[in-house]
């Protein structure tokens, strides 16, 4: 795509940035030749164009086979056609995604039967991919067949709602597809919001080979389009240029053209934003963001987020196998100091392992406050009056985790607990988490499905990939199995309540805070909608 014509260059402003001869001399003879030459062709930033600095390029363009790559997933959320999406609501003056409101995007309608087991997708007619092929039920069926064949991302998520075989997805007519689940589920729509993206099947089939029937090789290298934005240029490792899709069937994107520039160093992303070279800088540290709050021409968008920061304790290993010790730990965490000092006040105090704003959240899930005397008393009950020594593992280079770990270890020392802080690189951290060999660690999570059943499946039951604590409560597993088959909201909420009573007793995690999402942007940028999955939606942005 690097050699693709960028089209109309009438809106290009040529800038002369060359130095004087005197400056050349001062800079040294060795680079003289380079310095005499000046660049041209920088795009003027018009009202309908945004430039966003991102920390990394995406790993590939094939969402069925993409590793957990947040940059890649964020880009794909904007350029793949997703059939359904969450609506938007106001929360404390900020626009956030409303997980109780599912709206059709490329779909005309999305409905389940009375039981919640058979779901029917009706697609809008006349929607076309950039290739000119019309998006039909055949594309949906082929895309889901491909996802099941991949046995990776979507196939794994679909298992939660009883979709395990390609035959469970059937074409009814050219614009209607039916999904027949093995069991009814209250999560069906939420899971489909994550999973119901569609490929241009005719285009991909033209690149398939007998050895590669799903065109994996072609798809991973070539940008996919047809969503809110189409990718019009991709320079690997440098930039992705997207333009609003004229065929997008929902409310049209407000910004016509978006450039994502790959700038790995956070210091450079900040500098480019301050110099007005980019409009949004993603992935800056909280310290950088706080420094920029009063910068001229920059504003910081702050929005309540569903990201939660917690400290799982290895429940199968002493001393954290003792519930009294875990309760004592819950009393040594300086919660208010963490909100103030780590997040600069831009965070909410968590009051349950079930995140704030998740339906069913109750503050009975975590009835603990900073109280060293109570902690000492609980340690005495556990037969550990002299305290103990342990380790807090953090992700190397994560400043927020490091500062939270320092605050927790300092407070724990008051109760006689010595905690050594151990930074781990990602590879080691993944492995030790899987082996459950980390006694105490700092982690953060953002549930893509805003539901306690999903939280239990991924994080609080045996086999859950994010169950870093190694938590195994037979009653919780029973509740999870009941939730899996129950759509009745009254029953579900009763069970949600019981879940949090159990969590308050067992204390698998120390819940630290729920930080706001803070984003420094150029003053002209508006329209930010806080996504529930952390993947920015470009179509709402305005400039």
């Amino acid at each position: 795509m690097a050699d693709k014509d960028l089209g109309d260059i009438a809106n290009v402003t040529v800038k002369r940035e060359g130095p004087t001869r005197r400056q050349l001399f001062e800079l040294g003879a060795g680079l003289g030749l380079m310095l005499t030459l000046t660049p041209s062709g920088a795009f003027a930033q018009g009202k309908s164009e945004l430039t966003i600095a991102i920390p990394a390029d995406l790993g590939g363009w094939d969402q069925d086979y993409l590793a957990f790559d947040l940059v890649g997933l964020a880009v794909m959320k904007n350029c793949y056609p997703y059939m359904i999406e969450y609506g938007v609501k106001d929360q404390d003056g900020a626009a956030v995604m409303d997980t109780s409101n599912i709206v059709p995007v490329f779909a005309e309608s999305w409905k389940g039967d009375a039981e919640g087991k058979v779901w029917t997708l009706k697609i809008r007619k006349g929607v076309k991919f950039p290739s000119g092929n019309e998006l039909t039920a055949r594309d949906v069926k082929w895309s889901k067949d491909r996802a099941f064949a991949a046995k990776a991302n979507v196939a794994g998520v679909y298992r939660m709602i009883g979709l395990t075989e390609a035959d469970q997805v059937q074409i009814v007519d050219d614009y209607t597809v039916q999904f027949t689940q093995a069991q009814p589920s209250d999560l069906s729509s939420h899971i489909q919001i994550i999973s119901l993206y569609v490929f241009d099947s005719e285009e991909l089939k033209s690149h398939a080979t007998p050895d590669d029937p799903w065109a994996k090789e072609w798809t991973t290298k070539n940008p996919q389009s047809g969503g809110a934005y189409n990718v019009v240029d991709y320079k690997p490792g440098q930039e992705i240029v997207m333009e609003a899709n004229p065929s997008f069937p929902s409310a049209k994107p407000r910004v016509a053209r978006v450039k994502l520039q790959v700038i790995p160093a956070a210091a450079n992303r900040r500098l480019l934003l301050e110099k007005g070279e980019v409009d949004i800088a993603l992935g800056l540290s909280r310290r950088d963001i706080n420094d920029m709050r009063n910068s001229k021409g920059i504003k910081v968008i702050s929005s309540p987020s569903n990201e939660f920061v917690f400290m799982p304790m290895a429940m199968g290993t002493a001393p954290f196998d003792n519930p009294k010790v875990r309760q004592a730990m819950a009393h040594v965490v300086p919660y208010d100091a963490i909100v103030t000092n780590v997040y600069g006040g831009n965070a909410r105090r968590s009051t349950s392992p079930v995140p704030l704003d998740m339906p069913g959240h109750s503050s009975k899930g975590y009835p603990f406050s900073f109280d060293i005397d109570k902690a000492k008393a609980l340690l005495a009950e556990a037969g550990m009056s002299d305290g103990f020594e342990s380790e807090i593992a953090i992700l190397a280079g994560d400043v927020a985790q490091e500062r939270a770990a320092v605050l927790v270890s300092s407070a724990a020392r008051l109760a006689g607990i010595e905690l050594k802080i151990t930074p781990l690189d990602p590879g080691t951290l993944f492995q030790r988490r899987r082996e459950k060999t980390i006694p105490l660690q700092i982690a953060s999570g953002q549930m893509w499905v805003n539901d306690i059943e999903y939280l239990l499946a991924t994080s609080l039951t045996p086999g859950g990939f994010l169950n870093y604590a190694g938590y195994d409560s037979p009653r919780l597993v029973e509740i999870f199995q009941v939730l899996n088959k129950t759509s009745d909201m009254a029953t579900r909420h009763t069970l949600f309540d019981e879940v949090q009573t159990i969590l308050a007793r067992d204390v698998p995690w120390l819940v630290l805070a729920q930080p706001h999402f803070d984003l420094p942007v150029a003053a002209r940028v508006s329209g930010w909608v806080q996504p529930v999955d952390g993947l920015l939606r470009l179509r709402y942005l305005d400039a």
Binding site: M34, S40, P264, P426, G427, T428, Q431, T458, F465
Partner: protein, 324 residues
């Protein structure tokens, strides 16, 4: 020479990265993955097989030019090397040439002014430059030349956004010359300015010291003193007697510096958003992407061997007493 070195390096690297803690498969499976999913993914990449079998299969592929697929991106390693390596080579070769030119000029200047203020200044200056962390120097240069003076482009990669170019060799300088794309050439050279200067400044010191020491030795030789005593012009002395003799000793050290730059340019690439070979390898190392790390080590080792081979040839050309 190349084959035994590469076989040895490949075995060492293959074993070493597997001793490191960290499982690459855990970084690519989704949060809903079960143990069965993890086992199946591991089998897809052949990581469930015995080590000897894995190594054998890997080397059979390497001999056929197939380095496998990246675990993180599922893309062929060969494609990624073809994409990344030319970017780093362009940067490193220019940085090296700049350092070499500066080293020769400063080294000869210091030798001819040995013991005087110019000599001291050149030596101390080179030593200070050598002591600067490249990450820090790169950021300072960006702040001065981009943020303050506005004469350098922002650290946004290899070329200005919006300039179209055709990729043929992967080197933007060569490609833009081949295609006659002057906009791309000018922008590329402008973007190369600061990273090349950073690399050059960082590595100039050892080569400068070598040139100076070598030149001093030549200046004390009988032939040079005889030429001086005969009253030859300074230019004749410099180009006819001093330069060539001095250069005889430089190629070996230069090869070492060049090899080191190819393997060690990662921080400069990071600061200048270069997305080169080193940055690719660093990400591979952090996520234990075995095929990426193995390919990086093999390619870097190959460059060392080739650089030393070239150095031997150059040295033989400069000094007829040496036979390759």
């Amino acid at each position: 020479m190349l084959a035994p070195v590469l076989v040895g390096v490949s075995i060492f690297c293959f074993l070493l990265i597997r001793v490191l803690p960290g499982d690459p498969i855990l970084s690519i499976v989704p949060e809903t993955a079960t143990q069965a999913d993890i086992d199946r993914t591991r089998a897809q990449y052949g990581l469930d097989r015995p080590l000897v079998e894995q190594y054998g299969a890997y080397m059979v592929g390497v001999v056929q030019g197939d380095f496998g697929n990246s675990i993180q991106t599922n893309r062929p390693i060969v494609d990624q090397i073809a994409e990344r390596l030319p970017r780093t080579l362009e940067l490193v070769v220019l940085g090296f040439l700049l350092a070499l030119i500066m080293a020769i000029i400063l080294g000869l200047f210091a030798a001819r002014n040995a013991g005087r203020i110019g000599d001291h200044l050149a030596r101390v200056g080179a030593l200070v430059a050598n002591s600067l962390p490249e990450f820090w120097l790169g950021l300072v240069l960006i702040l001065v030349f981009f943020a303050a003076l506005g004469i350098a482009p922002g650290p946004t990669g290899r070329i200005s956004s919006g300039i179209d170019f055709e990729v043929i060799t992967g080197s933007l300088i060569i490609d833009s010359i081949i295609t006659g794309n002057m906009d791309a050439l000018v922008s590329t050279l402008h973007h190369l300015m600061l990273p090349v200067l950073t690399l050059g400044v960082i590595v100039v010191a050892p080569m400068m010291r070598s040139v100076r020491a070598s030149a001093l030795q030549v200046m004390q030789s009988e032939s040079y003193r005889c030429a001086t005593a005969h009253g030859l012009r300074p230019n004749k002395l410099l180009y006819g007697y001093l330069l060539r003799e001095t250069m005889v000793r430089v190629p070996t050290l230069a090869a070492l510096v060049l090899g080191n730059l190819i393997g060690g340019s990662v921080l400069v690439e990071f600061v200048f958003s270069w997305q080169g070979f080193g940055q690719w390898a660093l990400r591979g190392l952090l996520l234990r992407d075995y095929p990426v790390i193995q390919a990086y080590v093999l390619v870097t080792a190959s460059f060392y061997v080739v650089a030393f081979l070239v150095a031997d040839v150059v040295q033989a050309a400069l000094d007829p007493r040496i036979r390759v």
